[in-house]
């Protein structure tokens, strides 16, 4: 059996109770489906004294549709999400992403909130206690050197959630509950470009829902990832593309976002030049090169950075060409 720290479990039934349980207890952490948190607890990466389980909160488990768009509770499972009719039809990339997470069993209980708030990942970090110990740990946890870039004081662990890029291309917003209030912010503001501290959440803040705007519903989109095996594995590189075009094929709107190649899920910049044009072989190549330039994979997986950089450009180009038809 792996090491299991001795923690107290709290099972709040409302968002308010969850915030209280988190505030009132030392070294408390949230756990939703637990498909990442419990792995980290078992490996001694996280050693909480208190775990606040979100799975008994009923108010975060539904998907609702209204004139403003689609509202997804943070406790909705990936399976519920990828099978939801409005998601499949109107926000297709999001359905692709949810289906691409881990394996089907993980999708049964892994949640949207847990996926968006997933810890960053690295070859030197997602390892057993004895493995990390024999390597003197690293900057991200207990150690003082980064084994990926030993000279510096930065951590390059990659954000590797599959959901965020697809939600970013649909300009998703998230509700964040904190002491006494709920605020709504663009999803992109949830993240920092820092493997040590990649979430902008303040201690105890809880993501309660994701909102997808009605204006972008129905835009064509797709998500694809490179991974070692066809299932279970985290992305080595993942790309979401959303494209709106007119009847004659002129690009009216385009968004591309990346995962697993930076410490945060990243929106690709510099695509404005394509708006008002038709996709050509040349402009598709330019998009490929833009994506490659902005992706900054480091030696955080068993697969070499140069390959991830090449593949992320290739996926972006292919998805774009498929959507442009």
């Amino acid at each position: 059996m792996e090491f299991m720290p001795n923690f107290q479990l709290h099972r709040p039934e409302t968002i308010e109770e969850a915030l209280e349980a988190r505030m009132d207890n030392d070294e408390a952490l949230y756990v939703a489906g637990g498909t990442d948190m419990l792995v980290n607890v078992r490996r001694g990466i996280e050693q909480p004294k208190n775990l606040v389980d979100l799975s008994a909160i009923h108010g975060m488990k539904s998907i609702t549709l209204n004139s403003e768009g689609l509202h997804i509770g943070a406790g909705v499972t990936l399976k519920e999400l990828h099978g939801h009719e409005a998601v499949v039809k109107n926000y297709t990339a999001i359905s692709h992403s949810a289906k691409a997470v881990a394996g089907s069993t993980h999708q049964m209980y892994g949640t949207v909130g847990g996926n968006l708030c997933l810890d960053t990942r690295c070859l030197f970090y997602n390892q057993s206690e004895w493995w990390r110990q024999s390597n003197d740990y690293c900057l991200k946890e207990r150690g003082d050197t980064c084994h990926v870039a030993p000279g510096g004081k930065r951590c390059f662990a990659a954000f590797s959630g599959d959901m965020a890029p697809s939600m970013l291309v649909y300009e998703a917003e998230v509700d964040i509950a904190g002491e006494g209030s709920i605020k709504r912010v663009p999803l992109k503001n949830l993240y920092n470009n820092d493997g040590l501290d990649h979430l902008t959440l303040k201690p105890g803040e809880l993501v309660t829902a994701v909102h997808l705007p009605q204006e972008l519903a129905g835009d064509q989109s797709a998500y694809e990832k490179a991974r070692i095996r066809g299932s279970i594995d985290f992305p080595l590189a993942g790309v979401a593309v959303r494209l709106r075009k007119s009847v004659d094929g002129t690009i009216e709107d385009l968004a591309i976002a990346l995962t697993a190649v930076n410490p945060y899920p990243q929106i690709v910049s510099g695509l404005e030049g394509l708006i008002g044009t038709k996709l050509s072989e040349e402009s598709a190549m330019q998009v490929r090169d833009t994506v490659r330039k902005q992706a900054k994979p480091m030696r955080t997986t068993t697969v070499a950075p140069w390959y991830r950089r090449r593949v992320i450009g290739a996926i972006a180009k292919r998805l774009l060409e498929e959507l442009a038809g």
């Binding site: 490996r43 775990l51 881990a102």
Partner: protein, 168 residues
Amino acid sequence: MSKKNHKTLLHCTVNGREHDDVVDDNTLLVDYLRESLGLTGTKIGCDGGECGCCTVLVDGQPRHACLTLAATCTDKDIVTIEALEVQGRLSALQRGFHEKLGAQCGFCTPGMIMAAEGLLRENPDPSEEDIRQGLAANICRCTGYVKIIESVQYAAAELKRTGKEVAA
């Protein structure tokens, strides 16, 4: 860190039997099933979430018992591999794995069968692709998967032929 373990009173149903047990807050469902209830059919093949050997049904859905805290299973209905045979008669899926040689060393088999059980309960007539998807979180080091897929197809055909539901 205090030595005293925090405890929770767990009330749940396992294989049709009700249980009221005091469990440590940090007890994993897989350890509760194997150590407290002696249901060692559920296997442990990795250090968390990678292999699928520990798959059980919780409220009818496949779930990793190694990534589930026992104390979160209050009022849940848990089904393990032990519940599939009825009075010594194997379920359609168990017969399928036997007839079609879906098990070699057998270590992944309880998890495979429970994931397949969850699949057939939801989708009694799965395509090959549905079966591959439904078992995508389960790793087998022996069979190469082809025989496992045939085993599930055998069970689905059996259920259709006999008009029965998958074992409960």
